[in-house]
Symmetry: C2
Subunit: 311 residues, 2 copies
Amino acid sequence: MTSIGVDLGGTKIMAVLVHDGIVVEKAKKSTPRIGTPDDVLDAIAKAVAKVDPDDRAEAIGVGVPGPVRPGSGVLPIANNLPGWDHDVDVEAGLSARCSGRRVVVDNDVNVGTLAESEVGAGVGVDNLLGIFMGTGVGAALVLDGRLRQGPRGIAGELGHAFVAFREMESALVGRGELEDYAGRRMMEARARARHAAGEPSALIDLVGDDRMKSSTWEKALVAGDAMAASIVNDAAEAMAAALSSAIALVDIELIILGGGMAERLGESFRADLEQRLAARAFAGITAPIRGAALGDTGGALGAALLVEERP
Amino acid sequence: MTSIGVDLGGTKIMAVLVHDGIVVEKAKKSTPRIGTPDDVLDAIAKAVAKVDPDDRAEAIGVGVPGPVRPGSGVLPIANNLPGWDHDVDVEAGLSARCSGRRVVVDNDVNVGTLAESEVGAGVGVDNLLGIFMGTGVGAALVLDGRLRQGPRGIAGELGHAFVAFREMESALVGRGELEDYAGRRMMEARARARHAAGEPSALIDLVGDDRMKSSTWEKALVAGDAMAASIVNDAAEAMAAALSSAIALVDIELIILGGGMAERLGESFRADLEQRLAARAFAGITAPIRGAALGDTGGALGAALLVEERP
């Protein structure tokens, strides 16, 4: 079977042509920064044409940055796509632009986890959770070998687990969700608040008023910066709390850890996190953590696999 | 179909004879306080004989106070049963005592939730969570219409969700799990610690050195006791945090709330909890909370239903 997978992100669109599970063509395009959802769909159609100019693929899978309404191809809201503040039927809109071919759509983290589950770090494991640390924290669940979408399409959102229930209103930044401690955007907000209160940090010295990247955190840690170490320690402990809760709630056998921030924090962060999970285990039952294996193309490949998962 | 359901608790054993989904006979026995697992199995067999002296039922379901090893009838550990500190095959042991009839076993909270799902407060809902506030906090998941046991048999353990990740080591009592705030045993420990530190409370006036019951908490709240109100407020907020996390992780459409403590706290607690859930909703998606409908016999009835669920 030949299918196309598209990973639609806030900055770039990646398309792959997949034949019998193997990526045979690959293309990247910038995501339009201004305009409307129609402009975004036009850009996706161009990326599709680039990897498959002769319409060889039977169908197209798309991973999108937001929760998709189940049983439909509708993405209601996407904060990082231009003008995407209302229901947009991605399946119908893209099918119309691609010779009427079948289009299936799901959340980008869901399809990335599907790829890891079927051809990446999770091969052979039926119950796993993929978690990706970047600007925010995205996660997805595979239960009994099937990607869980859920009746309202929100399943997997462990980034929104409340790990500090008393901080709902009192916190300086955030309201006590995992993403408030382990997502890069909020980690930076914490660092800036502490700096404004008088605490020095290499994090600020490195970037000034520019945005902190994952590499900024890596550099500050290597330099022995105390504030960076403290904020990353909180991130690890919050991750351990949320992941342990998830293991006890749905009984997960494997955790796959990915995303730019996790890659920069590296093997020592993964191994440390595994130990923190063991310390929090219920009834002695925990789960190993493996690094994501598919890197940047995992999302697009997973979108192509979705075509077979949802025939 | 005629089957028997048994709810094995730390203080009592309840057995029911169920014909086509209706309870037609019912019996109670005390759980042995001393002895061995064999004594407990003997007591269960007697309760079974009491509701079904002529062996009319084809099979027997049992709800047990602990996680059962999946694909087996083995309960490895039960702190509140005498001498139960090693693997005991409940299915084989009880079948041998009951004319070789088929026996199926699962966790008591799992079977109680199964009953609510099939004939109680959850009828018609495919994705729900049952949560029971008592000495501890027990919970169970029904996903896509099926009770989730999980590959290691621990699924549903929301009582062990970490809702206060910084309290792993620093807390006066507990380590930041939901049960540490919303389970009666730990709520009492908190009250006693605050009292020992000099804070007065009707809770202590009511019971002295005796154990606080659910009714103790109800009385103290009615009397306007500040400490009881503060500890129950923490329980509600911790419940809201854990339940909201569960909704976002697995996409649950309904929460069924039961257990002695929840019954005493009553309708105002349920309605308040529903509002707290709405305040923490991810993407505006929450779930209603309904009171458990089956009361005391829910567990035994669910155990009988398990016989049909796992043929």
